[in-house]
Amino acid sequence: MDAKNALKTWEMSNSVETISTADEIYRYDKKQQQDILTAKPWEKDPHYFKYIKISALALLKMVMHARSGGNLEVMGLLLGKVDGNTMIVMDSFALPVEGTETRVNAQAQAYEYMAAYTESAKLVKRLENAIGWYHSHPGYGCWLSGIDVSTQMLNQQFQEPFVAIVIDPVRTISAGKVNIGAFRTYPKGYKPPDEGPSEYQSIPLNKIEDFGVHCKHYYTLDISYFKSSMDRKLLESLWNKYWVNTLSSSSLLTNADYTTGQIFDLSDKLEQSEAQLGRGGFMLGMETHEKKSEDKLAKATTDGCKTTMEAIHGLMSQVIKDRLFNQIHLPAP
């Protein structure tokens, strides 16, 4: 401990200028990137990129942008670079497109904006290139829809290296954790080796078909985050002011709409599984049917449990606040 303190005091008194290794990642080495781009190691292996590192700033920007869209999907681009089989996202910026399903048309206006933005960014020493795109799925989870898969396949043909990030601002707030996923598609016709069951996520009934049809065409990347030493300092001091918001926020209130939607969805799923169960009992080949109806009911159960837990968490905070601030018994004068 003493040596550490001594080092710190020495560093401070001499205003040591060395950049810590944590901040090295912020330096853009043009030559290194050019070499990687000419070598193109990802062409031989469709599963080349396994990890993705997102900077604290990029994450915050994406979350804020997704949240500002409300219930409409929003879209933007990611800037960054590549390092071995890790993709690194340094920054993100929003694109001026409307959240409609026909996003393929909106690409033209987006391209213009993109070109203008990256040019002006280079002038202020933001030298990274576009490394991917992100969009939001407000309320229905992080996965790639049919259109997303075709867009991403196109991107991976012409703009390699490219990654697709999906963020769900509504589930972020309801679960209290950032709901985000990073994906890369397999090229057409490629049969991926059977990977183990991925983490289950609850998908609303009206989207579940879209999810199921395409879920084998892409794989998820492992996400980790990084921040600079300056960020770390700021975040620590930010906490000194921000703790008030942690206590005062009430997820039950902010998420009332979403919770109601989830309960509706759950009731639909239960109805469906009930129909399945009724039919399954009379067939001789009972085993396969059992599995299906079991699956439906089991999935509906997981969804129900998730919604319940989130509601209970919200109530826990409310009860804590009530105990802290309401149950003070002033002594009778």
Partner: protein
């Protein structure tokens, strides 16, 4: 001669006299702070040594309330050791951000450094050409104290030695509270401490609440210590602080009306109902699985008996 010296040394000539209060209230989003920090880190990593960075602040202004929501970098040239903002670059960027953030306006500019200096005044005058009363945000990357090293200023025109000069007035700011942002900031702040997330979401949730309550507790302790010290005569009485502490105590309990109790219990009941729903669904599922397994076991035997019965 004396006046020249003052202006050169910066500080006395640049800040308005203490006691001048600001005219607007500022609400700052943490995203802006992260933006500035990243800009500074990036330039330092590219150039090898720290440099002063400059940028623009955008957000919404409603009357006397300014909400600073986002920011972007600005290009500047150094001409004769003076910072000159590149207005063409600003105009291009303004077009761009109007496309994406149509509801936001240009509010002011930011830079890195400690106390405001003469050169800041000069840049501020240039910015005044875009927006008549911009605000300045200063981030100090070398601050030693644990407080947030961010300060916000606005400008006033005051009479100093007979001539109208521009001076800075420090403004108080609050941190904007957006739920998703808070979760993002929380997540990123804690990501280095716990690499392998615990399996229990309840524990995570409670840990977050616990940290906040710890802070509250430490603050309350501080006030308590102060009051005890005043009582013991060690510290001089400060009536302002004592008055505020008293009014704080007087506000507890925060809400104790019947209507509140009713609503609170309603909310509790709703959540309990949802818990009931979840539990019953889970129970149904377990029973269903059990029945299916039971059927498989006994029907197999039944099937065998029936087939044997058919043949014999």
């Amino acid at each position: 001669m004396a006046t020249n010296m003052e202006v050169e040394y910066g500080n006395p000539g640049v800040m308005a006299s203490a006691g001048t209060s600001g005219s607007v209230s500022i609400s700052l989003h943490p995203l802006v702070i992260m933006n500035v920090s990243e800009h500074w880190t990036r330039v330092r990593a590219q150039e090898g040594k720290p440099q002063q960075v400059l940028g623009a602040l955008i957000g919404k202004q409603k009357g006397r309330n300014i909400e600073v929501m986002n920011s972007f970098e600005l290009l500047f040239d150094i001409i004769d050791s003076d910072i000159v903002v590149n207005m063409d670059y600003y105009n291009t960027k303004e077009e761009q951000f109007k496309q994406v953030f149509s509801t936001m306006d240009f509010l002011g500019w930011y830079t890195t450094g400690d106390e405001p200096t003469e050169s800041d005044i000069k840049v501020h005058k240039q910015i005044c050409r875009i927006n008549e009363s911009p605000i300045l945000l200063k981030l100090n990357p070398f601050a030693r104290h644990a407080d947030l090293p961010v300060a916000v200023y606005e400008s006033v025109i005051d009479l100093v030695n007979g001539e109208a000069t521009m001076l800075f007035v420090e403004l108080q700011y609050t941190l904007a509270t957006e739920e998703a942002e808070r979760i993002g900031v929380d997540h990123v702040a804690r990501v280095s401490t716990s690499e392998a997330g615990e399996g229990s979401t309840v524990a995570e949730h409670l840990i977050a609440q616990h940290s906040a309550i710890k802070m509250l507790h430490s603050r309350v302790q501080l006030i308590l210590e102060y009051v005890k010290a005043v009582q013991a005569g060690e510290v001089p009485k400060n009536h302002d602080i004592l008055r505020e502490a008293y009014s704080l105590c007087y506000r507890l309990p925060v809400l104790n009306t019947d209507k509140f109790k009713e609503d609170f219990f309603d909310q509790c009941n709703d959540v309990c109902l949802m818990a009931y729903l979840g539990t019953i669904t889970k129970g149904c599922n377990t029973i269903n699985q059990f029945v299916n397994k039971f059927n498989v076991l006994y029907d197999r035997q039944g099937m065998g008996r029936r087939i044997r019965g058919l043949f014999f």
